[in-house]
Amino acid sequence: MSPQTVDVLGAPQDVATGLAAPVSLVVSGLRVQFGGFVAVSDASFDAHPGEVRFLIGPNGAGKTTCIDAITGLVRGTGSAKLGDDELLGRPVHRTARLGVGRTFQTASVFEEMSVLQNLDIAAGMNRRSAALLRPRRTVEPRIEAAAEQIGLAGSLEQRAGTLSHGQKQWLEIGMLLVQDARVLLLDEPVAGMSHDERTATGTLLQRIAEHRAVVVVEHDMDFMRRFATRVTVLHQGSVISEGSVAHVQADPRVQEVYLGSAATHGADPAEHEGATS
């Protein structure tokens, strides 16, 4: 069985958990400041269900900081709305409860626990306290489905710490799925993956995006070209270009930014990464 053949991420499940219909993430005028240093000066972008939104830019452009601000890890001003809910100014766990899920640059799973335990915890945000006090007796259908989706259905009892790097990142995505995140913010989800793994991940993301908003921060330009629906380019804390992959690649400002820093970062969208595909 492969992710392509089983669809468990669709409407039935959302209905089952009572989550509202898919909604969009709209960020406008986001600004983050650390002391005197402005990490993000004025970022506006949006992400809608049905599209995979890529957030790219050279190192230090403020991509991860944007995610940090949206998820409440750092304080930002401006606005980030999920549907009608303003996300900024909430504690991290409240933001998460509104349906915002994120991954980290280094896959952050509970290493000591089994895959099943990882997923079960991620699925538990809305459990009542009484349910928390009981042991887990069965594998919930949505967990089983998500495990299927991320290709770990056969490894439910495996300790997460023993998973391969790529598997950990899938597990993390799986956790967002069972968490019923309405918007997924993924920070470099394919870092360190082989080409095949990247392809599988990209396909997975496209499927997820059918019912949820997906934002991907990525350096891998080849990956972006293959799977991005729309792209937002950040540079020094503000948006310099936005649009389809083709549009962004053609934008002279983007080329300038990437060429200017290509020598140090090796992230020229047109030349460097393209050569490997």
Partner: protein, 388 residues
């Protein structure tokens, strides 16, 4: 098997708990002289504290150097009740003896509720739990953790002791409270009643272990470990780690309170020397030696260390300090999982040649498309830094 986390399987937990109950409730009373049995009763009190520490520290990562506060609250609550009850015995004045001697001969208002046995029993559990909840929410909401939390909890116990010592007229000062004659109407000088007390303590310890086992196997138990290992991740999954930790901390506090309340009639005294900075760390020592994260490690460690102290210090008083220090250093440095992990390690060596060699499950390799390739290259990167 639920896998990982050092949680014993249900069968093992049940067998272990049963064995513990058998030893404490049947074997020990048959084998030990009544003096040694009373000693064991005292160690059982420490073991009940240890079960709580196992939950808070072993499972939750909160190194609490302040369990003496909760132990003390439970102990003093019980001691106050016993003093008041004794004072009413045989048509007494209702004023505890030490207040007549050192105070102004009147019972302060905050003592009065402890005349009620029901209130006292409630207070023994609820007061420590409430205090821990209040402190926990305050501390954990502010994301104070790790070493900061340890130091704060230690400062807390230091403050508590200073307060107790300074209020001699109402707390007995350094003398503490002692000289109890009865326990809920039963004479404490009757050996039959003392035996009952022992059974009570042993029974509560067994119940505490069972509670801890149930907790470890519950979803909450898993969440607690997750919070210990990656607090931020838990937060991003929509949980408030402060709440998770507070619940565990309050549970540990309640267990310490119950232990303190049992300690009072068994040992016959509660004083600041039993609950200060050093006793609070010594509570930890037993847990560390036995194995902090396991189910039985804390219990066996606490009883074992206390037993060793009593028997070794009888023979060589100064040697004990060296031994205790060296034991702590050796266990923490070489065997952080405690004695329990030694057993696991031996068992593992016996069953499988190498830990890392256990191959990823076949289903994962066969059933997935492209990801399958990755499964064969286990990227065993060093464990993520654990925030204690």
């Amino acid at each position: 098997m639920t896998g990982g986390l050092g949680v014993p399987s249900r069968r093992n937990a049940l067998a272990g708990t049963g064995a513990l109950a058998l030893v404490l409730l049947v074997v020990a009373p048959l084998m030990l002289s009544d003096f040694r049995l009373a000693l064991l009763g005292k160690f059982i009190c420490f073991a009940i504290v240890a079960v709580g520490i196992g939950i808070a520290w072993g499972r939750g990562g909160m190194l609490t150097l302040g369990q003496g506060v909760f132990f003390g609250i439970g102990g003093y609550a019980m001691a106050m009740h016993l003093k008041l009850a004794d004072a009413e015995l045989n048509g007494g004045s209702g004023v505890p003896d030490f207040m007549l001697l050192y105070g102004d001969g009147t019972v302060p208002g905050w003592w009065e509720p402890f005349r009620s046995p029901l209130f006292t029993l409630l207070a023994v559990v609820a007061l420590p739990a409430l205090l821990a909840t209040a402190l926990g929410l305050a501390i954990f909401k502010r994301r104070i953790k790790g070493a900061y939390f340890a130091i704060l909890s230690q400062a807390m116990v230091a403050a508590f002791v200073v307060l107790l010592v300074g209020q001699q007229q109402t707390t007995g000062g350094t003398n503490g409270l002692n000289g109890f004659r009865s326990f809920f109407g039963y004479s404490l000088s009757d050996p039959a009643n003392r035996l009952t007390l022992y059974y009570l303590a042993a029974g509560i310890l067994v119940a505490a272990v069972a509670l801890s086992a149930a907790l470890q196997r519950s979803r909450f138990g898993e969440l607690l470990v997750a919070t210990r290992d990656a607090e931020e991740r838990v937060r991003f999954l929509g949980y408030d780690p402060a709440l998770v930790k507070t619940v565990a901390f309050a549970l540990a506090a309640a267990l310490a309170g119950v232990a303190g309340a049992l300690f009072v009639p068994i040992v016959g005294i509660i004083s600041p020397a039993d609950i200060g900075v050093v006793p609070s760390i010594v509570f930890i020592v037993g847990v560390a030696v036995g194995g902090r994260a396991g189910l039985f490690g804390p219990v066996l460690g606490a009883i074992g260390v206390a037993w060793a102290e009593t028997s070794l210090s009888e023979a060589f008083p100064s040697f004990w300090s060296y031994f205790q220090g060296a034991l702590l250093i050796a266990v923490i440095a070489l065997l952080p999982g405690g004695a329990a992990s030694l057993v696991d390690r031996l068992r593992e060596r016996a069953t499988s040649p190498r830990r890392g060699a256990s191959s990823p499950p076949a289903a994962g390799a066969a059933g997935t498309p492209a990801p399958a390739a990755a499964a064969s290259t286990p990227a065993d990167r060093p464990a993520e830094e654990v925030h204690p």
